[in-house]
Symmetry: C2
Subunit: 216 residues, 2 copies
């Protein structure tokens, strides 16, 4: 079993609680309380920049040219066509400026900012990949429901579509392959260190959904 598969299994209860979270269920049904949805995007918007920065550090830290190019392309996508998503969503909710630029952060948001800062400044490829992989893989897991009826709400649907489909699935597969390759050569203490980063990210994903629901 690959390291990524083992880590997911090891964190299965937290992982599955996030993927099957009430917030996700209601997002698919289009019944999320608008205040919860707004709170979710206001908080998520706060670490978009940190995520872009961490992806830059992953490009810098990659140990091979091929994966470096693949990471750089994904970064270009994120900074290009996908960059205006939050601005459009916050416009749609008519979120006041202070809540866009400097809202009160929930602990899960602070936790993500700390974790991404840690990954970015470590310059360590495997550490960056661990945070990226959880963020993208866990989202693919809840967004990829081939048999589900898509929600009528345009924002919910766009958020789902950003995290499913062949291109996004290939990106997650790429991250898994790289993560498994980059961690294969690590000794046990190093693998445990990366595993702790992975576990921390899964916990934060669950807490992030909890916080959105608690905002109502």
């Amino acid at each position: 079993m690959s390291f990524s598969a083992r880590l997911r299994e090891h964190n299965a209860s937290t992982w599955d609680a996030a993927v099957g979270h009430r917030f996700v269920t209601e997002l698919w049904l289009g019944t999320v309380d608008p205040a919860a949805l707004q709170a979710y995007f206001v908080q998520d918007n706060q670490f978009f920049d940190a995520f872009v920065a961490m992806l830059g550090a992953t490009v810098a830290g990659a140990d091979r040219p091929g994966p470096r190019i693949a990471l750089a392309r994904q970064l270009g996508l994120l900074a290009g066509p996908e960059n205006d998503f939050f601005a459009r969503v916050l416009d749609a909710f008519d979120v006041p400026l202070p809540d866009r630029s400097d809202p009160e952060l929930v602990p899960a948001t602070r936790g993500f900012l700390d974790l991404m800062h840690h990954a970015r400044t470590s310059g360590d490829y495997a550490t960056c990949l661990a945070v990226l992989l959880v963020a993208e893989w866990l989202y693919l897991d809840w967004a990829d429901r081939p048999d589900a009826e898509p929600p009528a709400d345009a924002i919910a649907l766009e958020w789902i579509d950003l995290h499913r489909g062949p291109a996004f699935a290939a990106w997650v597969q790429f991250l898994r392959t790289e993560f498994d390759r980059a961690t294969a050569a690590l000794d046990d203490p190093e693998q445990e260190r990366v595993a702790a980063v992975f576990a921390r990210a899964v916990t934060l994903e669950l807490e992030f959904f909890d916080a959105a629901c608690a905002a109502v």
Copy 2:
């Protein structure tokens, strides 16, 4: 006078020797010895990956979200549409595989690799910008000749076109603005440190053209 303007002036003799180099003159005329042109691209190809990595570190190190996005978009361009340039050129010259993957490096190439490695691992925004700025600005300087007849040689023309035009000029202007802003708050020893990186990059650009001509 801005810091970038002062540094260019301070390095004017080296800068102008590079911009007006025989290699550049012959590139415009389409008369570069094919062996020199091939040697040039074989060496340049050797630091494309290091350049992408350094640009990733610049994305990671940027101190503001707006410039970070601009840098990430440029990185996406470089990793996307412009990524196959070297492969196509080396194909056109029918360069043998060992000279693509592991050629003997001239000192200027080693120097660039060291400088980019230094900038990347420093994680310092101003240091990364200094190397980027010289690489892009000096190239715009020799490639932007509005009154010159473009060369008939397709490779020479594409290489020129990659380093001129409104989008490339705006990218250089962006780098200058960011460099001047990021260095404005530095104390004198820090500014001198960045100035030394700038000067080293200018020297290497000149030596890199020298090396191409010496390869014949």
